[in-house]
Symmetry: C2
Subunit: 431 residues, 2 copies
């Protein structure tokens, strides 16, 4: 006979249902692997009567969170409500009572990580959150344990499936942004209000979490420089391809002598980069360590079962730690305090697309403006349009963002420059 | 002040040196993360005087294994000698004494896994082996913990860098096998005696280890069906490309109702498969789970620092478990006993290349032989050669290996068939 570890679920939405299905459907294997039976004894829901299309003992359901948080037999609380409140309150309360907490809530972690880990340490409890970043892809534990011997140099991830689906559609089918978004919404890959995804806010939360672990310093959502993908056009993607790049929304974090860079924005990456082949709703995280070198973790970044897979893995670890009476054995690793590097100080290559008058001397005046701000050019494509205008696509060498911006400011004031259509950072090349 | 956990290294070859460099070079971070200082107090070497080109207190070195195994203060033994004996003896002896063992020795694990895990259980000690498969890529812990909630359906890996380097050279530069091997040897990617790599034996050990974890049943090296890459020609690779496939040496393991399939052989995989883009000495392991769906883990499969990264991660976990007095918390998970499916029962698609007389009726007679053995054809390419001969390339639909072999036997006896040049299994397509 195996001992029983009792679990309470807060929330029974998509991920909650996936989690419950895995816990019940694969029960015998989980019991063998953990050495204890993981038993869900209570589930907090908003509507007791709702038909969830799954087999479920109605006696498990409750509308009162105290039935879980105040039940001394429940050792593990699984928070799958999402958002800040009441999730934060519940999680803090569970940790303070010494219950281990498993959560897939990226908002909580990215905004309240410090408070949460302090509560976990005080309660001598586990706080596990594999499901909060990149769904079914193992990334938190690999970064925190498997790559723990490394000084991480760089984390670069496609960590939002909605935007990757949209960019893939635009890249391979020439669809424009609006139609690609509509299609993503029809397929359920984008929400009715897609702001958090397409403006990069969802990815920003995830990269804040990953950067905190990678660099052992607390990175908050407000530390992340964020740009979404709404400015990206099929035209930019085509030029990128001509230049042998793919366009992806990246969450990036790098450690530099001047501080930690952490940002989310669209980027051109070389077609030969392992991330360039990550298409559709798939996610992948590329990590460069001083010892392991380059590694990449690929898989499904969302969905009931993929995220449920991560949540249940955490529940299994939490249960094992309970069984051995060592909850809290894996602690917060933000023991350092590193400055965040301002975006102006970040060095990149830049792709820039302009519409200019097609007359002699225009390219020279643009090149002069770049030179004035110490920006040198790596390549230039010029295409003729109608009406005596030309479209110019430039790629710079590596330069500080503030210099590029200053040059861009000069260029936009040139009378021959009709439109600064777009600029996109270039990443993933060896420097 | 942090407590000290003492470690003894057995062996100071490539991986031993990498391990020692990481432990000393990144010491402060490791101490913070573990909550204890990991201190190497003794290193077993064969030659005390050898110049290893690294800073090293000569007092650490010993030629007597008892200085490590019989030192009661050493809690963790790191076996990096490789091969079976004396490594096996040392590891068993350490485990029996209750010392935790970290090893990167795939031979030991693939041949003596059961014995080793029994000794670990008896000694209440950790037996960790992240470095034994795919070097710097986190794969053992991800499979054993992060994906533990899943019933794994399939593991498919490029787990030998030497052969992947050779096949990449052949694919992209049209080099033939012999020259690609020579180049790999010159670059140090292949050993002077390359047999273990090119005949698939190295990959077989690794897939045996991965299959044991994935399917919770003991898979031994002798259970693995093995073919190497020596039969692969640049010609086959070119035809494969025409058909939109890449050629890779795969370690494969699948769970089927009739038992576990486990094999190493070259295979055609679709160019769109994530493994197809894994080139050069890089390794990657693709895992399909019932909950997580498809995941892939990519990185450097060998080398002092990548493998050292995996070894040190294990040392950190072993040290943490020592600190919390829970060594052995992660146990052997081979709790099931599943049959191995014989290769004749395995179902695949097959690529086949033949030289035949170029006269009417020949293709019909080949198609007839296939039909007689219930093999149906998916595609046929016919190219004319000199001397009234034709080269035919066929791809079958999915069929049992024994049927394909029987058809091949019939075909090879046809008078019009001059040569059966090669056949290669096709993998990685949705079925």
């Amino acid at each position: 006979m195996f001992p029983i570890i009792k679990v309470g679920l807060l929330g029974l939405g998509t991920v909650g249902q996936g989690t419950y299905r895995i816990l019940t459907g694969n029960k015998d294997n989980l019991t063998q692997k953990v050495g204890a039976e993981i038993k869900v004894t209570r589930i907090l829901v908003r509507d007791l009567a709702k038909d969830r299309g799954m087999e479920l003992d109605p006696a498990l359901l409750t509308k009162d969170y105290r039935d879980i948080l105040e039940d001394p037999e429940i050792e593990i609380v699984v928070e799958l409500i999402g958002g800040l409140e009441p999730a934060l309150n519940y999680v803090l309360s569970a940790l303070e009572r010494g219950k281990s907490v498993v959560t897939a809530n990226k908002d909580l972690l990215a905004l309240h990580g410090k408070e949460l880990f302090e509560a976990a340490a005080a309660g001598k409890a586990d706080l596990l959150f594999e499901g909060s970043v990149a769904g079914g892809i193992p990334i938190i534990r690999p970064l925190k344990q498997c790559l723990a011997a490394n000084q991480i140099k760089e984390v670069m991830g496609i960590i939002n499936g909605t935007t990757n689906y949209i960019l893939t559609k635009m890249s391979y089918q020439g669809v424009d942004f609006t139609n690609a978004l509509l299609e993503a919404q029809e397929l359920g890959y984008a929400e009715r209000d897609p702001t958090a995804d397409i403006e990069g806010l969802d990815a920003a939360r995830k990269i804040a979490i990953l950067a905190s672990i990678a660099f052992n310093t607390r990175v908050l959502i407000n530390d992340v420089y964020v740009e979404g993908i709404t400015r990206i056009t099929a035209r930019d993607i085509n030029y990128a391809r001509e230049l042998n790049y793919a366009v992806k929304l990246l969450g990036m974090a790098k450690e530099t002598p001047e501080g930690v860079e952490v940002r989310v924005h669209p980027a051109l990456i070389p077609q030969s980069h392992p991330l360039a082949a990550v298409n559709g709703v798939f996610n992948a995280i590329f990590i460069r360590g001083d010892a392991a070198g380059d590694t990449m973790f690929y898989g499904q970044g969302a969905g009931a079962l993929p995220t449920g897979s991560a949540v249940v893995a955490d529940i299994m670890d939490a249960a094992r730690h309970r069984l051995y009476k060592v909850p809290g054995i894996i602690k917060c690793t933000c023991y350092a305090q590193k400055p965040i590097k301002p975006i102006g100080e970040v060095e990149c290559k830049y792709y820039l697309r302009l519409i200019v008058d097609d007359r002699p001397g225009v390219l020279a005046s643009i090149a002069y403006a770049f030179g004035d701000k110490k920006v040198s050019l790596a390549s230039v494509i010029q295409k003729l349009n109608l009406d005596q205008q030309a479209e110019i696509v430039l790629v710079t060498h590596r330069v500080k963002e503030q210099n590029f911006r200053a040059a861009l400011n000069l260029i936009s004031q040139l009378s021959a420059v009709k439109e600064v259509c777009n600029f996109i950072r270039v990443e993933g090349e060896e420097t």
